[in-house]
Amino acid sequence: MFIERAHSWKKLGVQCILLALPTIFFAFVVLLKLNANYVILQNQWIYQGVYFSLGILLSLIFYSWRFRFISTALMLALFYYIGYQILKQIAVGEFDMFFFSVQYLIFIFIFSIGWLVGFGFSRWRFFTVIWVLFLLAIEIIIISKITTVTAGAIALGFIPVLLYTFYIIYASELIRNLNEHQSSFRWYLTKRVCGFFGVVILIFAVIFYVFRKDFTAIETAWKKVESHYNNEKSNSQRMTKVNRDGTISNTGKMPLSGSLSKTKQLVFVAHLNNFFADGTTQNPLYFTADYYTKFDSVTQTFATDTTRPFNDLFSPDPSQISLFFTKSDSNAIKNSLATLNRKVVETDVYKVALSPKDYLAPSTAFSIQPISVPYEYASQYSSAYHAKMWVSSLNSAYFVYNPAGNTMLEDFQKTRYDILRQDSGYNGVDSAFLAYYTQMPQGKSYQRIIDLADTITSGDSTTIDKMLAIRDYFLSKDEFGQPLFQYTDNPGEPGLPGANKLDYFLFTNRRGYCAYYAGATLFMLRALHIPSRIATGFLTVDRSSKNPGWYWFYEDQAHAWVQVFFKGYGWIDFDTTIPDVNTQQAPQPDGTPPLGSQKVAFVGDGTILKVDTLKKQILLSVEKILYKDRSFTTAQNPDMRLSVAFAKVFADTGAINLTDLEQGMHITAASYDEKLSHLDFQKAADTAVNILSRLPQPVSIDEIKIIKEAKVVTPNKNSVRSYLHGFDWLTILISLAVIALVIMIIIILLPWLIWRFFNFRARKNLHFKQRAILYLLNQMGYPRDFHSPEDFAQQIDRQFGTHLSLFTKVYQKEKYSHTPPGRQEITEAAATYKPFVQAVKAHIPWKRRVVLFLNFYHPLHFFIKNH
């Protein structure tokens, strides 16, 4: 049997060099990148590249004969099978077999791709298009894995694949139309390929040069939003969010996601004066930022209910409150409805990375007073506040476990459970309140949770016993003595998108982080009609430091837990998240607490009228003052001179320079000068003006805090977009569109513009008239082509009734004869030009002329003879 060749050896060589080699090179690069991202490939990109090369080269050679694809592909499959059987014979042991078969599968897969590509290049005309689409898809996947976006990384990701794409399409067409019998075909190919690269590189270079600012803008824009992006990356979640200014806040929502990312950043330091009955043992309390009552079952996300029908949160913006002035609002927490075992606890919070706008305190806080950071700690802490809250004496961060052997704590737990067991249930509680805090989503999967809750708490009657039963369930062990539930930051996702993740957590996976435990607990409690909610904030870790009452809060302490409502006691924290037994947390080094706050003698708050930089004095228009812990507000806005020579100036973000003070700024100036507190004044008649008039002016000021006026900020749901707004895609798109439009118009109009130019030039002499005539006729669909000038002129004359023959004759004489034609002759010939143009126009209707002038092929044909 003789099989004919589909391609000559020469053509095969060209295919190998021009198609296969670049493809192999590119495949190596792609495989390298894929290996970096996918573990299954086992980082053997060189081997895989070789498999691919083998596939493509063998296939190219094989299919240069006229073999049919399907039959040969079946043969190949047979070979694969035989190879597998042989491997099976050779392989010793199960592990080897597994290892080999994975390797062999990868080999088969990659070799087959190579084989298919080889066939495509050899025989399948439109294969290159499919192939480059495939490569582009892979490249997009690879690029999506880029974690640090830089202009360079994007360019490096995209340019090679674009270059390859264009090249391979061009080269495959070039080879398809190649005449290998042409004697100089090597030179021809070299010329074409070099020319192609020249043009492409030129175009890319020009684009890069013109748009280089935009490319770098991508980088800067990315740097701004990178943290947001990583936060919102589909399968990773943080309990905190990073703000624009780099500070940290709690997120307003808590999706149940596949993994949790944490950092070791110090967020804030707090002093909490809550101790157990013995007065020395610390009773840490969780610091609450917000609470979630809403659950979106579609996205499986817990979120703040923006309507908050039973608002129970005092959430001031510390950055908007003047230094040392107190803001309190116990009305905000009226829904805590706590009357029993209640005490007031105070805390001082010193912010490190925490956003200046955030207010964190153990629930349920009702008062805030911004305080100054002692000067020696000014570089560590940006701002600080003092907060007061009502705390149930039954509340504690200790729930799941107690410090080992601490009998006092165990007694406390026992006592508080006993007190809570006396609880009379929820009779007499507002039914709307109860309904709000016990609602849960409907559905089969949630019914399973309800059933589970019923099973777990079957023997318990009181709320606290049910709570303890749920806790014990999470801590229970299975039939093998292994913990039923485990803590992990990476619980993974259920296979089914949109599945009930809590159901998955409770019944299948049993691994999760705080959001899972809190969410599962919440729904079990609500299933039992116990009013509860998820609180979010920071876990307080008692590290028994040498500074009692001081706690350090790191980013990985961001936490979510359950608060249960007890009638008369209000909301009590219960944390059912089980400890992480696998990763032992290294104890965080606690620093020195910012002690040494001075007693403030006088505080003035107002607007700067004048700044005297020479004398270092400020003229302040006073709005309110604080004197001897009493605040006075004045409507008269008296002026007051301040000496700021020794003052430290702070903004929300930390210490700044004195020179940054400007006229019109709203500041709070504090003085620690003890002399000021010894002034005599009649308490009854005291007003701000009175006190000011008695102060020795200028008042020596020790600390100034700038209050930035609150801007009306609409909550930005998608802050990423707002950043990208600075990098104006729309403008770029529009300008690109406009440029494209202008170019299009020019291209469309070009034939006509050329005609105008020719027509204008035709005034000069016969030669340019002839050019204009030829151009016009060509554009109107009468190219001269192979007609001799005189034949052509005669034809045209017959067509349009013109005198082109006469013109041509004189023109030729003028051009080539030894004796030029007479003046009169030339004038006569020249005179035929205008009537000629008019005759042509008269013969072709203007609509047709417009269409003909739009034809860009005609001028191309005129200037570049392409027969």
Binding site: Q182, S788, P789, K815, Y816, T819, I826, H867
Partner: protein, 337 residues
């Protein structure tokens, strides 16, 4: 310079009468051969350029009539008319059948040379490719040298010796294709071709008149006048750019991968001669690009050996078109006084 200029003008003036006669000759022939103006002009071009013509076409397209009419239109031969001879070439034809031979004269007891058909003014060599190469080369030698050497005697041919050879386009059995070197001797090769449908109908309608016309051909041009025209043609002005155009075309045929054998320098000279003759026929004393366009194919096509049919179909057109394009863009406008 001034002198030279007037000289040329004088020449043109002198030949202008004969140029009008050429017009008459054309009209004469057109009375008999319908719808072949272009071919007639090309034949006359070859005649005036002092060359020969090869007509490639099927039998019955009017080649013989054309030759006869041409001969009849010329005066000044032995019978007051140009001598017209026709030889039908066959494989068994011998050179002496063309040239003539020594015959023993009984009366003078000596060998006398009996002139063959080559001693004429207009020769129609029918189916030239059917003769053996020996005969072909004998004919072609005469065409080039315009003389015949038999033994020791050299016999000059007539001053006006114009060969019109025909050959069949289809490769038939028993033909000896002319080698490229011999084809080169023909200044022009034309395809006679069939006339278009309208003309054909006209011929059928008026064939009696045409036959009558053939009988009544008037003699419009003398041999001397033709010889003078040949001399005048030599003096026709050809612009340097056109000369370089000829040079470019010729060299382009040599530097092309699709062409095995390009045009020779001799063909370049023939080309220029034909250009000049054609210009003269058209009543001009200068060559134009129009002439170049019309003559390139008839003059060069048969001298080029192409690699394949595709190349034959388009290559020369491309070469010519590139050159025509260059000329068309060339601004040779002179400053007028």
């Amino acid at each position: 310079m001034e002198n030279e200029m007037s000289n040329i003008e004088q020449n043109v003036l002198a030949t202008s009468g004969s140029v009008q006669n050429i017009e008459k000759l054309t009209q004469n022939i057109e009375q008999v051969i319908k719808g072949k103006t272009k071919q007639i002009r090309l034949i006359l071009t070859a005649l005036i350029a002092g060359g020969h013509i090869l007509m490639e076409d099927n039998p019955g397209t009017g080649k013989t009539v054309m030759a006869k009419t041409l001969a009849k239109s010329i005066t000044g031969g032995e019978n007051g008319q140009a001598i017209f001879k026709r030889i039908q070439f066959t494989p068994d034809l011998l050179p002496m059948d063309l040239i003539g031979s020594y015959i023993f004269d009984e009366a003078n007891r000596d060998f006398v040379f009996k002139k063959g058909p080559l001693f004429c003014n207009v020769l129609l060599a029918d189916e030239i490719n059917r003769a053996s190469p020996k005969v072909q080369s004998a004919l072609l030698e005469c065409m080039a040298e315009k003389q015949i050497t038999v033994g020791e005697t050299t016999f000059p041919l007539e001053a006006l010796f114009f060969t019109m050879a025909t050959q069949n386009p289809i490769e038939m059995e028993g033909t000896y294709p002319l080698p490229a070197a011999q084809l080169d001797r023909f200044y022009i090769k034309i395809h006679f071709g069939y006339v278009d449908d309208d003309t054909e109908l006209e011929i059928y309608k008026e064939y009696l008149d045409i036959q009558q016309n053939q009988q009544d051909i008037q003699q419009v041009l003398s041999i001397n006048e033709i010889l003078e025209l040949q001399k005048a043609a030599e003096k026709v002005y050809i612009h340097e750019e056109l000369l370089s155009a000829v040079r470019n075309i010729i060299s382009a045929t040599r530097n092309n991968d699709e062409i095995i054998l390009g045009a020779s320098t001799r063909s370049g000279i023939s080309f220029i001669k034909c250009l000049k003759a054609y210009a003269l026929i058209n009543g001009r004393d200068y060559v134009t690009e129009n002439d170049l366009q019309i003559l390139t194919h008839p003059v060069l096509d048969h001298r080029i050996l192409y690699r394949n049919k595709e190349a034959r179909a388009k290559l020369l057109y491309q070469i010519l078109d590139a050159e025509m394009d260059r000329l068309s863009k060339l601004n040779l406008t002179r400053k007028h006084q």
